[in-house]
Subunit: 217 residues, 2 copies
């Protein structure tokens, strides 16, 4: 499926980098650990990082009901949610043509508060499994009090676009003769050695979903 570009999501700069396929948009949202949420308070832009999770064509955000960002968004104001994955450094022969290879998604819309307990539980599962796939089934599920005391918002992924850069630098023709190394330095997010909680119960071994953790790239 392809999302029709709106006046807000149509990529104006370097439109050849734009992607509107839902599969690509969803994949980037799933790969990104955190998103950056933009909203307006008293005319001023505010950008706050937070954990997100996608389930179908919905993006879930959550937190304390006291959280200013969530309190603002639940009034269904305009929001812009952006995620960015840096896939590599693009090192050109000229300073001017330095860049990065990246995948980003920008989502516009307004969020609604999720009040249905079943949908809240769907969001919690998506959020835990977004952090570490397959973890949900191994942990204590949210209880009544935790469900009540968590504000969950859903944002429809109807107005979203992706932008992707790949490949080598694009230098000026004359610069290709320069004896300067140029190319891409690929970057990845990799896990280190898991650190046991200091109060780990006896026999609680590191599970496969932690030792095998990786992001797709």
């Amino acid at each position: 499926m392809t999302l029709p570009p709106s006046s807000r999501t149509e990529v104006k700069r370097l439109p050849e980098r734009a992607r509107y396929d839902t599969e690509i948009v969803h994949g980037i949202l799933d790969d990104a650990l955190v998103c950056h949420v933009g909203f307006v308070i008293d005319g001023q832009p505010v950008v706050i990082p937070t954990i997100h999770a996608r389930s179908g064509d919905r993006l879930y955000l959550h937190g304390s009901p006291a959280n200013r960002m969530l309190r603002t968004l639940k009034q269904q104001v305009d929001v812009c949610v952006t995620v960015t994955l840096v896939d590599g450094l693009v090192l050109a022969r000229s300073a001017f043509h330095h860049s990065m290879n990246y995948r980003s998604v920008v989502v516009f819309g307004s969020a609604r508060e999720v009040t249905d307990p079943a949908e809240k539980m769907t969001a919690f599962r998506a959020l835990v499994d977004h952090i570490a796939p397959r973890r949900w089934d191994t942990v204590r599920a949210p209880n009544e009090k935790e469900i009540r005391s968590t504000l969950v918002l859903a944002l429809a992924l109807a107005e979203a676009s992706a932008k992707i850069r790949t490949g080598p630098p694009l230098d000026d023709e004359a610069d290709y003769a320069l004896p300067v190394w140029a190319g891409e330095l690929p970057l990845r997010t990799v896990p280190g050695v898991p650190v046991d909680d200091p109060r780990l119960a006896p026999g609680a071994a590191v599970p496969d979903h932690v030792t095998d953790w990786r992001r797709s790239r």
Copy 2:
């Protein structure tokens, strides 16, 4: 030095995670490869990722004069620039207490256009060396045409705050007895094998600043 918290930068949620020391704020900005720039167009929030670089107490952004974000910001409207580094996954015994360890910085202010060619050159150097330290001296410097055709903006780092989470999950007391593995999975950004540009000039070997590339953590 410590930046006095303003009404905008004072961290309200979890204030024990807040940091206002310039050294910490600057270090996080330097470690982050990209920032997320929030601004308002026709009342709507927009968040766009871009490369930034710090020089002293200034943050530089740059791009084409046709770039909508830069054209908007150069009118000295309010801007919010946020960077986030995810340092690890915080895996709790309960779904509710899952989190991430992170370092983030939020900067408020308004940007001014840099017109002085010497300061523009300072910004270009900072931007290239932000991507790959020590690279600037090895590449072709910007020429007159490139300097003229690049829009550079400077944002004073006067109103900025950092937020940092470290350490293990904080579970409910009763949950510590559960036989569920809990702890932190540290994450790092690491370089892969450098990919030569397909049109590399003969004898252009991969330089030390590429093979040694790393971010501080």
